[in-house]
């Protein structure tokens, strides 16, 4: 057990924090707020992160990255949450690039990873479907074998930055007991999008595939390996949301502590009212629980699972982290708004974007209740024993 960062991890965190805190100013966020719907993407910032090497944290050195693990990447993600930066870090880096790094062919890695690290290409992930539960197994996106590769037909939902992406990792059902994972390029015949306007205004779309021919060179995995890859991708994405949520919760709580320490009513700062201090203290506990569970999930995901038990421990840690992300996000959001009074909802004051982000992370890829249900099923199955 060790709860400190290594020197290089600290450097990554500091670098990410410095760039994001300096660049993501209130002014910049306001100008992004003016974007047309579906266009809220801070490309200049994304390029700055690329120049600093931060898009390649978890990409192999051979592909132009820094060669650190997934945990190191979550340090960046936490800072993204802390700054409410409008960048596709979760989808492109934590989702797509991690899956390609672990399951992509050499050619696929060569094709995508250097370009992701340099910021030239953007990838995203399409796992969610209407009504597929938090395990995100494909049901309605169907694949049928073709001469070369497969034909895909179906719809995916809530695909982050889909219309900005150069490649979309799509999961599809091949038969009752076989799934595949492929990269679809938006220019391919039969690909179309329906914009989905979200709470935070992050660009998302439904992805409609109508008999799209995916050649075998675009297939990442199939069979058992595809299930592993989907699970790995889902774990990476869910944990990424937890890291973003940690940063955003922490920032919203600290903003609240600062505001209540300055705002006076009844001739005294409102933080000196015990009811106010106690509610903030509960927030501190919530954030700490979320932080620790997220860090644990990120660390375990960086390990290579030795056996079934180890794989289960990873899945369970991720699920538990997301339960905390949902609960903490919800509670912090309302604590922050409540203790700010009217200022908290005024768009002239920065809190509102955090609250929207907390809500979006709470419901993305499974609410607390969905994950509780999953965890409960696993407890019935294999106990999830306490050591």
């Amino acid at each position: 057990m060790k709860f400190s960062l290594t020197e290089s991890q600290s450097e990554i965190r500091q670098l990410a924090n410095k760039i994001l805190q300096e660049q993501v100013t209130e002014e910049r966020l306001r100008s992004l707020d003016q974007c047309e719907s579906g266009e809220r993407f801070d490309r200049a910032l994304w390029q700055q992160l690329a120049s600093a090497g931060l898009l390649g944290i978890a990409i192999d050195e051979a592909h132009g990255g820094m060669g650190f693990d997934y945990f190191a990447l979550t340090l960046l993600l936490e800072e993204v949450g802390r700054s409410v930066a409008a960048v596709p870090a979760v989808a492109s880096l934590a989702g797509a690039a991690m899956v390609l790094t672990k399951y992509g062919s050499d050619t696929q890695q060569q094709q995508w990873l250097p370009a992701v690290a340099s910021g030239e290409s953007l990838l995203t992930v399409a796992f969610s479907e209407a009504m597929n539960s938090s395990d995100l197994t494909p049901h309605s996106m169907l694949a049928t074998p073709a001469d070369d590769g497969y034909i895909l037909t179906g719809t995916k939902h809530y695909v982050p930055y889909a219309e900005h992406a150069d490649g979309i990792i799509v999961s599809a059902k091949l038969s009752d007991n076989e799934n595949i994972l492929v990269v679809v390029e938006p220019g391919q015949a039969g690909v179309s999008f329906t914009a989905e306007n979200t709470t935070t205004a992050e660009p998302q779309s439904a992805l409609n595939l109508s008999a799209v021919n995916v050649p075998s060179s675009q297939v990442i995995t199939q069979g058992n390996a595809a299930d592993d890859a989907i699970q790995y991708g889902v774990n990476c994405l869910v944990t990424a949301y937890c890291s973003v949520q940690t940063g955003a919760s922490d920032a919203a709580l600290r903003m609240t502590a600062k505001y209540t320490s300055e705002r006076k009513q009844f001739n005294t700062v409102i933080a000196s009212f015990q009811a106010v201090a106690q509610r903030a203290a509960d927030g501190y506990i919530d954030v700490e629980c979320l932080r620790l569970c997220s860090q644990q999930a990120a660390c375990l995901l960086s390990d290579k699972p030795a056996d079934l038990d180890a794989q289960r421990a990873i899945n369970d840690a991720v699920t538990m982290a997301k339960i905390w992300a949902g609960d903490t996000g919800h509670r912090i959001s309302y604590t922050a708004q409540h203790l700010h009074g009217g200022t908290g909802v005024d768009r002239e004051y920065p809190l509102w974007r955090f609250c929207l982000l907390l809500r979006q992370m709470e419901f993305s890829m499974g609410s607390s209740q969905q994950h509780l249900t999953d965890l409960g099923d696993r407890i019935a199955d294999y106990s999830v024993a306490m050591s």
Binding site: F3, S4, Q274, I285, T373, G376
Partner: protein
């Protein structure tokens, strides 16, 4: 960052677990069950003595004092196993009072009392609280006045637990009534055989007995003063963080969770389904499990912070608040899973696993105000963790 125990730590855990598996004979368990788990019976005394003989009592103490110099993390793991086994180990004596006597008492007291603590034969009650000094402990009024080469003690303590079985009281008394309240307190070690000392039982909701203790011109030698005159507050608070960590140890429920899951997996409902086949039961278990996981990590992080001298006061208080309120909540959820059988006490003929919950429920109500009221802990979190000005309420 690393969330695995080292091999050495795993070995240590295995060793502790095996030790307590052997120590907790069915007879001892039966005796403990009769005493609401507070200990004190003959088999308990024998088990303490055995632990002393085996060198298991002062594990965290440096080797020259008969210990093994465990780190805070290893010590936490030890308590986790003690709690898991359900043995009522006197943590406050071994982790708090003992080290203070060892480091700060006079030679005579060191010779007379400390070896007994390490041997498991000496019981010490803690005399901090008074009828009018609870959360605001520093307002205590029990007086100690110097008379020649003796101290004369007068006053009343409240909630002096285990005192009816104790050899000594570790007593906080006011030695300078004119100094600010935190700076006029000193610590004494007082034999329960001393003239002028008396006690009367206080019976609590949970069935646990505690005591009111009375001090009427009790005389102790000058060297019964422990540490410096009027510097007692520092001694009282020096081990608080370790105490808080012991109070919320995840070991108090980890094995019970495992047993409860096993029960729910194997026990049938009337319609043939198992208890765990009910969706709400699964959600309850998931809540319990994910909350326990956070507690586990909070505690390990705190222990790690202690070892690396990075202890964050807010985190220690966060552990106390979170853990104590979680236990109360978990006992409710567990009771709901078991149903009305969780009202049956252990001595009911058809008692089942619910009897554990019945007992835990009755004895858990003190943890949220004992060991530092949770409101005060939250104030500390707001001040030390979020830099909020909380004003005069903290003094």
């Amino acid at each position: 960052m690393n969330f695995h125990l080292t091999d050495k730590q795993c070995d240590l855990r295995d060793e502790f677990r095996a030790y307590f598996d052997k120590l907790m004979t069915p007879e001892l368990v039966a005796e403990l069950n009769q005493t609401t788990g507070e200990g004190g019976g003959p088999l308990y005394q024998a088990a303490m003595k055995k632990m002393g003989d085996d060198g298991y009592i002062a594990l965290s103490w440096p080797e020259q004092f008969g210990g093994r110099g465990l780190s805070a993390l290893e010590q936490y793991m030890f308590i986790e196993e003690v709690a898991r086994a359900g043995f009522p180990f006197p943590f406050l004596t071994t982790e708090s009072v003992g080290p203070m006597l060892r480091d700060h008492a006079s030679e005579r007291i060191k010779q007379e009392v400390v070896p007994g603590i390490v041997a498991g034969t000496c019981n010490i009650a803690i005399g901090y609280s008074e009828p009018d000094a609870g959360t605001d402990l520093a307002s205590l009024k029990t007086r100690a006045v110097r008379d020649g080469d003796e101290w004369v003690i007068n006053g009343q303590k409240m909630w002096t637990s285990l005192c009816h079985m104790a050899d000594y009281v570790w007593l906080a008394a006011r030695t300078d009534p004119d100094a600010p309240k935190h700076r006029g307190i000193s610590m004494f070690i007082l034999p329960t055989t001393a003239e002028g000392f008396s006690l009367s039982p206080v019976h609590t909701l949970g069935g646990v007995r505690t005591n009111a203790t009375y001090y009427e011109d009790v005389r102790v030698p000058a060297d019964a003063l422990v540490g410096e005159l009027n510097k007692g507050w520092k001694l009282i608070t020096s081990q608080l963080n370790r105490e808080r960590l012991a109070l919320v140890n995840v070991g108090f429920f980890s094995q019970k969770y495992n047993v409860l899951v096993d029960w729910a997996q194997t026990t049938s409902l009337l319609d043939g389904r198992k208890v765990i086949d009910q969706p709400w039961v699964r959600t309850h278990f998931a809540r319990i499990r994910s909350s326990l996981e956070a507690l586990r990590l909070i505690c390990y992080k705190l222990a790690w912070q202690m070892d690396s001298n990075e202890l964050n006061m807010a985190d220690a208080s966060a552990a106390k608040v979170y853990g104590t309120e979680l236990f109360v909540e978990i006992y409710r959820l567990a009771g709901e899973i078991i149903g009305q059988h969780s009202l049956l006490k252990r001595d009911s003929e058809d008692a089942n696993i619910g009897a554990t919950i019945e007992n835990l429920y009755r004895t858990a109500s003190i943890i949220t105000f004992g060991g530092g009221a949770n409101e005060v802990q939250r104030d500390i979190i707001a001040a030390a963790g979020l830099w909020m000005p909380i004003g005069s309420r903290m003094s």
